[in-house]
Structures are given as C-alpha cells and as structure tokens.
C-alpha cells in the first residue's frame, strides 16, 4: 500500500495516570500509548505507532494530551473517538479526532504546552482526590510564591531544574507564563511554555514551596536559573499532582 492511501489522524486524550507507567512504552509496565495502540488495532486491524506530544511520567495525568497516527482505514475521523473508546478502559478517553495533513507530527509540531501542578494545602490530608494532588501540610506565604513564580518567565538555562537522570544537552527552555493561586484548600501552579526538561514543572513547584515556607529566599532560587555553578537540593514534587492541560500548535 502506497503512502498515498494513508491518512493522518490527530486525537485528543484525557487519562488518569495512576495505573500506567507513563505515556510512552516501557520495558516494564503498561503505557497509555500501548493501550491506545491496542484499541486502534482492534478498530482498524492495523499496527500503528502513536506519536504523543508529551511523554508524561508514571502517575502524571492528562486533560489534553495530543497524539497522531497513520491509518489506511476509511473510518471517518469524527467516528474515531467512540470507536476507540469502546476498546479503552475507564481511565483513558479520546475526546476529539480530526484528519490532518500527512506531515503533521504531534511531538515535533507542538509549539508549547500548559502543565498544572495541584497542591492540597491543609493541615489534614485530603482524604478524597488523593491520586490527583500532593499534600502540603505547612502554611505557606501565597504572596511571596506568586511573586517568586515570575522569575521563571523567559528564556533561561533550566539545567538546575532537570532531574539528574536526563542526558539532554541543551537545557535552555522558554517559559511563557507561570501563575500560582489558591482556591479553598488547593494551590494551583500553572506553567505554560515552549518546552520542558524532565521533571522541570515538578521541580519548579518544589522550589516555590521552599520559598513559600520561608526556607529559601527568592534570590536563592533566582540563582539556580542560568547558573550551572550553583545548586542546593530541594524537593521534586510527586507525579500524581501533575496534569498536562493543553498542547499548543
């Protein structure tokens, strides 16, 4: 079958990351990608390779993951969500599909992403929604956290905000906007940017908490940016509080 027969389908996906080893296929564990590829095979009979915009880690959730795959099937794009969902578990759902140009690549064409980190900030643990937030029992200064969040905006070397396991060489990334707000017991850290290093959002949120607790000054954290020679250890917040909200094209 020639390439001329192939169609490129872009899908939008929500999932609860709790029971998966992340988006991308791994040697051990079941990945969200594997499960969706299995559903596509049931619907089209084809073994496809699904390209995801963001490789979310084990336990990270998605409200707006985007992916694409090539198919020779003649199923109309608008019928794909219901057909695929019929073969997916409750914690993964395709909520949009459209046929796009054959050259579209969900990963390389992404212009940016919006991530949200959710912190349950109360003396007592949440009890409900435990799989969707990190519990911070300490009181924090919201005003100083809001002020501090702005130091991350712009194009910077974020090497000190990448987990040590990563082998990426170019650690310069552009953050467009970052916002910290509290509604009832929940602190939301919203980060939008062109690209992110491994664990970058979870580490930015961890730094903001250090500042909010008064353990570090804004200047300490500002020193971590664009500054390979300086470092202090702080917490990388757990995966379960992180959501991939949207991918921009």
């Amino acid at each position: 079958m020639g390439l001329v027969d192939m169609r490129n389908i872009k899908i939008k996906v929500r999932y609860k990351g709790t029971n998966y080893c992340g988006w991308q296929s791994q040697i051990n564990g079941i990945a969200v990608q594997d499960v969706i590829e299995g559903s596509i095979k049931k619907v089209t009979g084809e073994e496809v390779k699904l390209i995801g915009a963001g490789r979310t880690d084990a336990g990270v959730h998605a409200l707006g993951q985007v992916a694409n795959f090539m198919t020779a099937s003649s199923i109309s794009d608008k019928r794909f969500p219901l057909a695929l969902n019929a073969n997916l578990p409750d914690d993964i759902v395709i909520y949009d599909a459209e046929e796009v140009n054959i050259d579209f690549n969900a990963r390389y064409d992404a212009k940016g992403k919006h991530y949200r980190y959710c912190i349950w900030n109360s003396r007592y643990r949440p009890g409900l929604f435990d799989e969707y937030c990190y519990w911070l029992p300490h009181e924090v200064d919201m005003e100083i956290m809001q002020e501090a969040s702005k130091i991350f905006i712009g194009t910077h070397d974020f090497k000190n905000f990448m987990s040590s396991g990563s082998s990426i060489k170019n650690t310069v990334r552009t953050v467009w906007d970052i916002d910290v707000c509290k509604r009832k017991e929940i602190i939301y850290v919203d980060v939008k940017g062109e690209g992110f290093l491994y664990n970058m959002v979870r580490r930015i949120a961890g730094c903001l908490i250090e500042i909010g607790k008064g353990k570090r000054d804004i200047s300490d954290v500002a020193n971590l940016i664009d500054n390979e020679g300086y470092f202090f250890s702080y917490m990388t917040l757990p995966a379960k509080g992180l959501f991939l909200v949207e991918v921009y094209y």
Copy 2:
C-alpha cells in the same frame, strides 16, 4: 467508671466512599464507622460506639460528615485529629474535633444537611475523577432543570422519591433549597434540607435529568410530590456522584 468521667467528642470527617460498604457497620464489608472506631481503640484503648450524622451508602463520599463518641481518655480534643489520622487509611481523614456537651448526639441533634450530586455531562466519559461523578452523555436543558429544581423546595410527602427497600413510615420531609448549575463539563445539584429519605437526593437528581432530556415535563415530576397514587419509573443515580457536604446543628 461513672458517667461523670466521660467526655463527648464531636469530630468532622472527610472520606472517599469507593472502598467502603457505607458509613454504618454492616454484616458484610468494611464500614467507615468501623475503621474510625478501630482507630479510636488504638488511641484510647476503648471500644466506643461512633454516632454518625448521616448514614451514607456504599460509594457515597463525605466532605463534612459529623460524628461523636464518648471517651474517658484525657487526650485534649484538639490532639484527636492527628492521633486518629495516624491510624486511618488515606481515604478517611478527621479534620476537626471538639469536646461538646455530654448530651450532644450527632445524629439526633442535626438540624439539616447539605448534599451535592456531581454529573459529568459530556459526550465522552470523564477518564479522570470517574469515582466522583455520574457520566451523562446526553445534552440537557440546564434552564429547565434549574426551573424544575424549585418544585422540590418546601415541606412535602417525598414517598415517591424513596427507594422501595425502605420501611420508613413518615415520608414527609422539608427541603430548604436546591440549586442546579453547570461549570465546564460538570453539573452540580446542591440540595439542602432538614432530612432526607433513603436515596432521595439520588432520585431527585435522576428526575431532574429526565426533565433536562425532555423525556418528562416539570408537571409530571411535580405530580410525584405529595401524590402517592401517581408514579412512573426513572433512574436512581449511582452512589459515586453523591457527597455529604455539610451537617447543620
């Protein structure tokens, strides 16, 4: 030990109902009450009987359940939450405790309660938060549901809104207020009242959906109120979308 030595402790509890057979002890399954009584025994050494304000069903959640127990222990009331939480699972949390008059009874002294029912209203299932909502894929008319909700306000015979398994004789109850609103994909049905029959909130929410879908008129549902001679069948919405928000004293 004489009654003179006893103290009455009132606690506030949040829990995720998913893994429990409800609030109240049953022959089969683990009840939230059992788990908290177990924790009190570990902390005080006493076998207490915990009195809960609302007997939530299996799968129903609570943001503000209230309960009380008698103890001869000298632990200060403000220390109870942390002490009890240390022996409770992640899905149950005590977030307030205070010593109250020896006559206080969480069940009989309750003046009223606030329940919330959450409906995920979208063509595609939620994917996340599935244990906390009922999925309604149909489009509904929010304006007519809001209008219809007001027919339940007041003192009425709600016999047609009680599940048939119940043996209660007096089926007259007073609803203070009811409100239906939609924020993004979620419809919230908030009901406040003096008392509720078995499954009453889940049945009121089920009726409102029938009206919203256009399957029944407001007058059909109004006919179910104060009218033992009239009935039509409709859905009792599942437990997982229901929250006990607050108990009023």
